[in-house]
Symmetry: C2
Subunit: 514 residues, 2 copies
């Protein structure tokens, strides 16, 4: 049963200004009795009016901080209303939002139209929907799922309400939906593709829940925070960039949804989020990577296929040529987890092919991109570019264009001074690596904030080990954090060693959907 | 896909106290960069520690109000931690809540066990779950519904975490799930039942979304705010009371859920909410009224039956003898909407049987209660008590016991001085009354806060009218509000008049489920 609420009272209140700064949200504080008199609740919106000026604000209710008949305006609101302490202003409940009704329609199981989804996104951007309503929306989308049409409408609304960056011509990009630790593939894919003469302006996120995001890794090697104009210059010079996307204010609706999704540990808007961010960055040829593993976001091929299908259909509708790759995600990529170890692993892999699985994955992803851009034998071409040293040269060009030192060597990157090495307790083969344990330990050691907090792996799935051989080392800047991190590791289940040999996938690329 | 988050960083921050008062919630304000460094989000919980003291707080994130390295503690938290400005304290993210995981299980479609529901209710009461998580829970319950077991577990958890009031012996009660305007039945049922020598301590709510709740109506006649001890005295004296339940802090979990449900316009916890409140008030013999109508909460008999079944099953499990009545809810009850008009209507109905539908409904509800308490021919007995004047005498006793004037007369109650009367534009029969229009107009006129804002009805469904005969009058204290309210009324659709005659139900009681 849905309850109807509509309140219509209006009140006169006396302004009590404070120096409080509510950030981006316009908030007013009223005494709880006044909130009740208005017939509304904390978190509801009111229209606050003084003379010819009026603004919409969120109501916070307080027992003692504000007396009855008084209102606290935050600084920005007071300025906007030209209101000073002692002034009398009018406060009335804002009429019910149309978009709130649309959320209730989705709760009731109805499909949302383009217009309704746009209304929701507009009210999101204008901060008209409060956090409760947004949490209700996200939960509903999580439970009910979305039709392909709805996914498209959300994507379109996010794009249409964003500014755009344009590069012109074929613009390539890749995106991993994440979930596999140590996935530094982008740091190889981007230089390979750019070295082939193609444009690939890559924006990445910092880590939110993992020990390192691509932006965190790249930041070990060079700067990653740039304006849109700077990015254009870097791309003009090198065909590529690897920068943090967070400062560009692209697809702002996506950022606002994420503010609700993350604390709720939900991501029903994954596809609109990824595709809108690509589209407004001008990308038109995109590879999506779905790591498949026991502990990644997608655990079975059927789910991967369904997700891939939606990605491709919606991609088509917004004029993005798109392929979806399913890749092996059972263990960390390469020999490292955490910003510094991963950046070093990348340089070492360029220098002497340290991590073959990383090379294979990067060449596979780059290969598909090259073929989508018209090249033949993509993966062979990608490997060729990698082996010839052109990719490394390109990475160093990008590092320099972003203000870093192109001559950076692996040994310039230091890992945390406090460390402990775990050794095999018996001989045999590695049959299981517990990603979650390693990730939790690495984060507890300080990653991603402390870039030296990381893990180096010496053995991977299928490798043979002798008793007392080192398996991995955990690094931290501080003994206290190292000890804290150790609690997350159960030695024998972090690396399972067994007599029987289990060989992992020999090729990182499992399936291509297009 | 569910994302896993676990953050483990710890930070040292410098206290910057303020005189801010966060009400019941412990809140700290951190600079947004520190929030990011902690790997958490605004609204997440942190554990704040100083020496041997630690507390859990909600994080608010601010751009400018707090500098990096600083923390603002609200007054209560500062006191609890013995923290003073300039002190250094430790802040770390609180580990993920078990109950949050249980909410995700329900999102995924699993049935929740008794233990899990209790954990959710405990974390609700300890303010561990934030508003986003609670909104996600409420939305999930709204979409997925609950099994009978889950309804029982929520009810039980609300009861077990509440203090109880006991009266002893047979304790009767009634509850309407609401939705029909002008439903003042309680003001007749309680005195009828009490006059028959039975105990009926009635707690009621004030209006939240309607022009008047039972507590608002009773408040026109006498006081309604009492402590548990006062209530016991009143009931000892008169066998009954009609008081506001909001001040008694009974079933506090219910109140906290309602704080989230109301702004979201959802009420998935209707049954636990009603039954827990009855149980902790000591009631053991209860009638639930489901008004059935085109605009009430339940619109078809099938839904009413399903709801009734759950009420009865769960009632049985918590030892409440319970019957569910479905009543006619197509038009307002009696001839009034809004506190003063309704109180007056009640007194006039006692005095000269003004509103026969009100008498019929009250006698039906009271009749079922009397039979549940062992009396025969309940409705006839109820009518007998009403007609004999004993019920009116009892109401006046209750009014006096609650501190009011037992001699109060209908004409002592004044309606708003500004008013407008709507007259029939043609002759015929009333075939439809638009409840929503009348309710919105009445609220806009000032109800329930301004008790004189109300509507008097002169005609009801099936009545014949001649052109220019008055249909209803809208009252308000102020011309401005009256004009505002008029906008809600479309004259010809508020009261539809037609040549064909439609006779409404002759008996208010449609069905009894037991």
């Amino acid at each position: 049963m849905e309850m109807k609420t509509s309140a219509t009272t209006e009140m006169k209140l006396k302004v009590k200004n404070t120096g409080l700064d509510a950030g981006e949200k316009a908030v007013v504080i009223l005494n709880e009795k006044d909130v009740e008199k208005l017939g509304i609740f904390s978190m509801n919106r009111v229209i606050v009016k003084k003379g010819k000026y009026d603004i919409t604000c969120i109501v916070n209710s307080s027992k003692r901080f504000v007396r009855e008949g008084e209102i606290v305006l935050y600084r920005e609101s007071a300025e906007e209303l030209r209101a000073r302490p002692g002034d009398t202003i009018l406060v009335r409940p804002r009429p019910e939002l149309e978009s709130k009704r649309f959320i209730h329609e989705k709760i009731a199981g109805k499909e949302l139209t383009c217009r309704k989804i746009r209304a929701i996104v507009d009210d999101l951007l204008e901060r008209n929907l409060n956090d409760l309503e947004l949490a209700a929306l996200i939960t509903t989308l999580q439970i009910r799922g979305m039709t392909e049409k709805e996914v498209y409408y959300f994507t379109k609304a996010m794009i249409d309400t964003s500014k755009k960056i344009t590069f012109g011509g074929k613009v390539l990009d890749k995106h991993s939906i994440g979930g596999v630790p140590g996935d530094k593939t982008t740091l190889l894919v981007v230089p390979i593709v750019a070295a082939a003469g193609l444009k690939i302006p890559k924006t990445s996120s910092r880590s939110i829940t993992s020990p390192a995001g691509t932006a965190d890794r790249m930041e070990v090697l060079t700067n990653v925070e740039f304006s849109a104009d700077d990015i254009k210059k870097i791309v003009r010079k090198t065909n590529a960039c690897i920068v943090w996307g967070g400062a560009l204010d692209l697809a702002p609706a996506d950022d606002l949804f994420i503010e609700i999704e993350h604390p709720l540990s939900m991501d029903p808007l994954l596809i609109p989020s990824v595709l809108a961010k690509k589209k407004v960055m001008g990308s038109n040829t995109v590879v999506i990577d779905i790591p498949l593993g026991s502990h990644t976001k997608v655990n079975c091929m059927r789910d991967a296929r369904e997700l891939a299908k939606k990605f491709i259909t919606v991609g088509k509708r917004i004029d993005i040529k798109l392929k979806v790759l399913v890749t092996y995600g059972e263990q960390p990529i390469g020999h490292s987890i955490g910003p510094n170890a991963e950046a070093r692993d990348v340089l070492e892999t360029f220098a002497y092919h340290k991590s073959p699985d990383l090379i294979d994955k990067a060449a596979s992803v780059a290969g598909v991109l090259l073929e989508m851009a018209g090249k033949r034998n993509g993966k062979a071409l990608a490997l060729n570019i990698f082996n010839s040293g052109k990719a490394e040269k390109k990475l160093r060009e990008i590092i320099e264009a972003q203000g870093g030192d192109r001559r950076i060597k692996p040994e310039d990157i230091s890992l945390g001074p406090k460390h402990i090495t775990f050794k095999a307790k018996k001989s045999g083969f590695v049959t299981s690596i517990n990603n979650t344990m390693l990730v939790d330990a690495c984060k507890t050691a300080g990653a991603p904030k402390e870039k030296g907090a990381c893990i180096e792996l010496y053995k991977k799935l299928g490798d043979s080990v002798r008793i007392n051989e080192p398996l991995f080392t955990l690094y931290s800047n501080k003994t206290r954090k190292l000890n804290e991190a150790l609690k997350f590791i159960n030695h024998s289940s972090a690396f399972e060693i067994s007599k029987r040999k289990e060989v992992p996938a020999r090729r990182m690329l499992l399936t291509v959907f297009s």
